[in-house]
Amino acid sequence: MTLWDLTQGASAKVSRFKSSIESGYRTRLSELGFHPGEQIACVMSPSMGAPKLYRVNNTVYSLDDSIASLIEVA
């Protein structure tokens, strides 16, 4: 399951990044808090494929499918 599959209100722990993710992005997502082991909650999932809102620590980020589907959660 990826972060993009997470439904509104659900939360899960980041398990790993897909290998297709560019290393610069892996580092950046880690720096923003999306690193393996961290609990992420999907706080908003607007309809029609709009970017979803994810909460990590005390911050909310909006991620589109192109990046959220490269983060695996469990």
């Binding site: 720096e31 690193h35 908003m44 607007p46 029609m48 709009a50 809102l53 909460r55 909006s62 991620l63």
Partner: protein, 615 residues
Amino acid sequence: MSSTQASRIALIGSPNSGKSLLFNRLTGLNQKVANFPGITVNIASGQSLHDSSIQYLDFPGVYSMQAISGEEKVAVEAFISALEDNLLDAVVCVVDSTRLEKGLIFALQVLETCHRYNKPVLIAANMVDVLDQHSMQFDASGLSEALKVSVLPLSAKTGAGLEQISQSLADTTVPPEKFQSDIIASDDSVNHLHAQELAEKYGPRGDLLINTQTRLDSFFLHSWFGGLSFLVIMYLLFQSIFTWAAPAMDGVEASIQWLASVVLPLIPAGVASDFTSDALFGGIGAFLVFVPQIFVLTLVVGMLEDSGYLARAAVICHKPLRFFGLTGKSFIPMLSGVACAIPGVYAARTVESTRKRWLTYLAIPLMPCSARLPVYSLIIAAFIPAQKAMGGLVGWQGLAMFAIYLFGILCALLVTALVSRSNAELRTDLPFVLEMPPYRLPSWRPLIINAWNRSKHFVTKAGKVIFAVTVVIWVLGYFPNYGTSLGDSWLGTMGQWIEPLFAPFGLDWRYGVAILSSFLAREVFVGTLGTMFGIEGAEENFTSLAQQIQDSGLPLGAGAALLVFFAIALQCVSTLAVLQRETGSWRLPLQLFISYSIFAYTAALAVFHLVELLV
């Protein structure tokens, strides 16, 4: 820190850490753009209000010293080269104390960098007012001891702690090589683990994300209410540009007229008087009238940004704009372009991705800007009857105006869709990751300062180019017969040279000259045409000029061709000048000018033949 001359202190921090607000608080109105050799990034500099021996330099916000976007790379390189060239005496690293872990990941990178260049660092733990509101604590002295540099809790919003910044800067030291910790991990994650450890030990505990943010998001990003409120907010934005700025624009115009009525009688009749009247008051005055619009737009967009809404608008628009090769972040620049392309180009700075910003630059000049309005009004009044249909509900003229506005927007989206699909590099780009800042009431003072600086910048930078072109156009139109006959002037001669160019879509040399002069600014078209039709003050007298155009037997196809030509062509020297300034080269403005001229010409020709075929 050197004490003999003004100390140069860099402010560095991630976006939404409150760094720029802190900079505005520390320097007030004493700001200017710092000039660093070879750097195209904007670094604002300002003298401290609290200590005149300190000069602050506000570096653009970055999330990490390992940059991923073009904008970040430039900012990080600027910071590193300022350290290398010994241009800085100390560094203030701004972190958000409510999100300490994230701030510390970046702060640890800054400490490592500053250790290499032997520069003292002060950690400014911002937003302690939010901690106070939630009765939360954070152990600044403990953190300071752990990091071996000073940590100053402060609030850029309330001003708490700001008076201690000079003392803290004097007390702080060069960071040690490595922060002391028991953690042994690979380099990639070591900073993160250290930051986590420090945040847990010294940071505030508990849930700080206020529920109101989630509640507001569930409204503003709701499938229906979100879209509806988006439309309402955009409508209000438009209204503000046109209605709030209108009195100020009238004021500027009246002031220029008053100044002209005082100055012109003092100059003896002749070349000098004509130059002052036509080029200085006419040419420069016409452009100064738009300054209030830029001020209001910067203020309102700044307010939306400060309130946290802009990030939500970008989320709403991301998906539809992605289809056209753009990103949600292109939305505000394009929207600004409907008022005027210049603030639109400035607003494009918020698009971090260089490629998407480049695509946004392609779209902005095609957005139906307000300078096109007088031209559209004139042509529509000349060709479309002022009748209403459907029981007075729909006016044909209004419908025509709507159609030509829509045409411009569709052209912009078509261009970006085609260009982005033609180039694989433009298709694959930075994924959309956007921090949603908390909603908050805007801080007016920095917003007004920013809008003022932006307007000043517009006048001083674009003004120089506009002045130069005004002089050239005036000289060409005035000589060799001293303004007695425009048709025999050099401009008129050039108009006759270019007549064959416009004849294929039914326009004579007078329209050619008007188009030529409208390169300065589109609305000049109406004035030039008016002069040539022998009507004084044509811009206030659309209907009679429209009548003249009708009587001159201009075919309907030519009128439609003119509309289409003006909707596409980039005849705006200020936009070209600002694009040059923002991209650092003439390459893009020239490419756009040439390709949009060809596009405008081809489309106008096609529309002329189509209309002539149908009518």
